[in-house]
Symmetry: C2
Subunit: 339 residues, 2 copies
DNA sequence: AGCTATTAAAATAACGTTTGCATAAACTTG
DNA sequence: CAAGTTTATGCAAACGTTATTTTAATAGCT
């Protein structure tokens, strides 16, 4: 009990050579039907599992894909991982998961770990600190296919899968404008993160393109301090009593903002329309339910996974390309119906 | 360019045998200091990485730990995975991540995948559907160490790491009682999930132990239908105008419930105190901020990971034991201050 | 009958390590 | 200085596969 059955054991019991067993199991036509069935039956009976370590050593392929994420506790990233898993598992690949916790050092280590494990490819999102890309170049040098998702190194000549944050924010803001909002504030996230910045620019461009002023004092940079939102909203409503729209970079913060506004006696969406971002679970648990931009995490994961599979299984070339996932607005109760 | 450096290549360049190189790299005292340094320098220079496929085949150890989770998009589970990763990475193990999506079939497949990859051990949380455990017995038969976390198969003689949901719910309810609540309702989750049930019993036991009636009509079984909560709360407040406490199995639903109560004109916590569960991010984004039971996900992950490491690296026996993580209440603004 | 094709299966090498055993050279030691 | 011991290294087997080459057995043909 306890020991794994090998091809050699099957061969011994059947009185044939192990190479015959190997071929029989992989349906090689050079083995007679009779022997093949004999082999397969015994393999089944003994509960034979091919030893993937041996298989991999022999084939020189690990069937392993390295996945490097900056922070697995962010639901966006864990959903991406879920999407990747779903896609690559079907093709018999497994995932070597590395969590860098936003540390550049850990990211370098993660790449080394990938190399050590001889992964067949790497899917990565860079940390907020990553400015040097030598470690990724190393992968390229070793001809390990690399695909970036979400947080990408723009100038490396590899495929990238990203969400169109700019367009999403643009469309959300445009929706507020279309529903007759004239004075729209924005709460944005960390200035270090590309994604927040793209959303900010999407907001500004939408305003500009529709003839509304872009007003610095209507923009709040949020950095983990909820009470700053109370202050911002109070100040803003005092200065701009006609405030009738709010676009927030994240659903949690949108939820918080709505609570603050409600306490100040504002009606949502009659007085002020609010648009969130990411369509987190909280969006449907709120009252009123939050209009938001659809979460593209699992789609992003699936697309990144598929790209890798195409490269690995169908010899697609690794080229400098960008797959952009387009936005989809989810309209709920915090925005007015148009028209 | 592109090919990995092997031990044999180093040996060739240095004019020694590959076994000498192998020993030199692993600091075997049988190799002279001079040779050892020669080897190490060249290895460094050539960017040598031990080929883990070969290493594993040779050693008969995969350095891989299978992690089976029911739903990675639930932040509780992704945080557990993060905790596991953090712990096992330090000991040079990698994770083979399997997501069962609450499907029993996928869970069986996941175990097979673990076997196929010759994982050194398996960490698992079962699906809501799992009633048969033959696949896990298979692991035990193959002497693959198994450790359960959170959702466990109670009667299998292996280590388990769980949160004390009963005690947590008991303490949360007791806190409501201590703050002078006399009529406390409870919203519970799926009747199929152990965790919800344990919380339900914790609530009931706390009431009973403090001389309060356990009243079936104060308990609502929530199944993914927010509007059922509106109905429940309205009905309950009509029937029990003295309702002054609410304990909810999950922070999202607590958030929703508070919104409903607020709209009905109830003041939180002056009229009704509310206690949530899990301390999700939303708890701090609410107004008032939600009192909740601390999230134990990453601690659970670390404990489960450590247990596995102890078994694998320090030959700890696989025994039928239960590690219980004790509750910690986070008191915020939805409950009254005691005394 | 004698030769060639064809078919089926066995043998062997290879993948890159670790490891037990062997060996040669250089030291001890009485 | 011969015998034994230590030191430093090499050799070869083993891990479980796949893949290439060889051999053996059978069948088909003139």
């Amino acid at each position: 009990m306890g020991k794994y059955v090998t091809i050699t054991e099957i061969a011994r019991q059947l009185g044939v050579s192990h190479s015959t067993v190997s071929r029989a199991l992989s349906d090689n036509p050079r083995i007679s039907k009779k022997t093949r069935e004999l082999v397969k039956n015994l393999a089944e009976k003994l509960g034979y599992h091919t030893n993937s370590m041996a298989l991999r050593l022999s084939k020189g392929k690990s069937q392993l894909i390295g996945v490097i994420v900056p922070d697995l506790s962010i639901s966006f990233f864990s959903k991406i991982v879920e999407g990747i898993l779903e896609t690559v598992q079907k093709e018999d690949y497994s995932i070597l998961l590395l969590n860098t916790q936003e540390s550049f050092e850990k990211e370098k280590e993660a790449v080394e770990t990938c190399l050590k494990h001889r992964v067949d490819g790497v899917l990565a999102a860079i940390t907020m600190q990553t400015k040097n890309f030598d470690h990724y170049e190393r992968l390229i040098k070793y001809e390990v296919p690399l695909v970036f998702f979400d947080r990408v190194a723009n100038f490396l000549p590899v495929p990238k899968v990203v969400a169109n944050d700019h367009q999403s924010a643009f469309n959300a803001t445009k929706h507020l404008i279309d529903s007759k909002c004239k004075c729209i504030a924005h709460i944005t996230g960390s200035i270090n993160l590309n994604n927040s910045n793209n959303r900010l620019y999407g907001y500004m461009d939408a305003l500009a393109e529709h003839g509304l002023d872009v007003n610095e004092s209507l923009i709040h940079y949020y950095e983990f301090e909820p009470s700053s939102i109370d202050k911002f909203l109070k100040k803003t409503i005092k200065k701009y009593p006609n405030l009738d729209g709010l676009f927030v970079f994240n659903d949690y913060v949108a939820n918080y903002s709505i609570n603050v506004l409600t306490k100040m006696g504002k009606k949502i969406p009659e007085d002020i329309s609010v648009f969130g971002f990411s369509d987190e679970p909280v969006a449907t648990y709120m009252t009123p339910q939050l209009s938001s931009v659809k979460q593209v995490a699992s789609k992003m994961g699936r697309l990144a996974g598929q790209k890798m599979i195409s490269i690995l299984n169908y010899d697609e070339a690794v080229v400098n390309e960008k797959v952009v996932i387009n936005p989809e607005l989810i309209l709920r109760e915090t925005t007015k119906v148009i028209g």
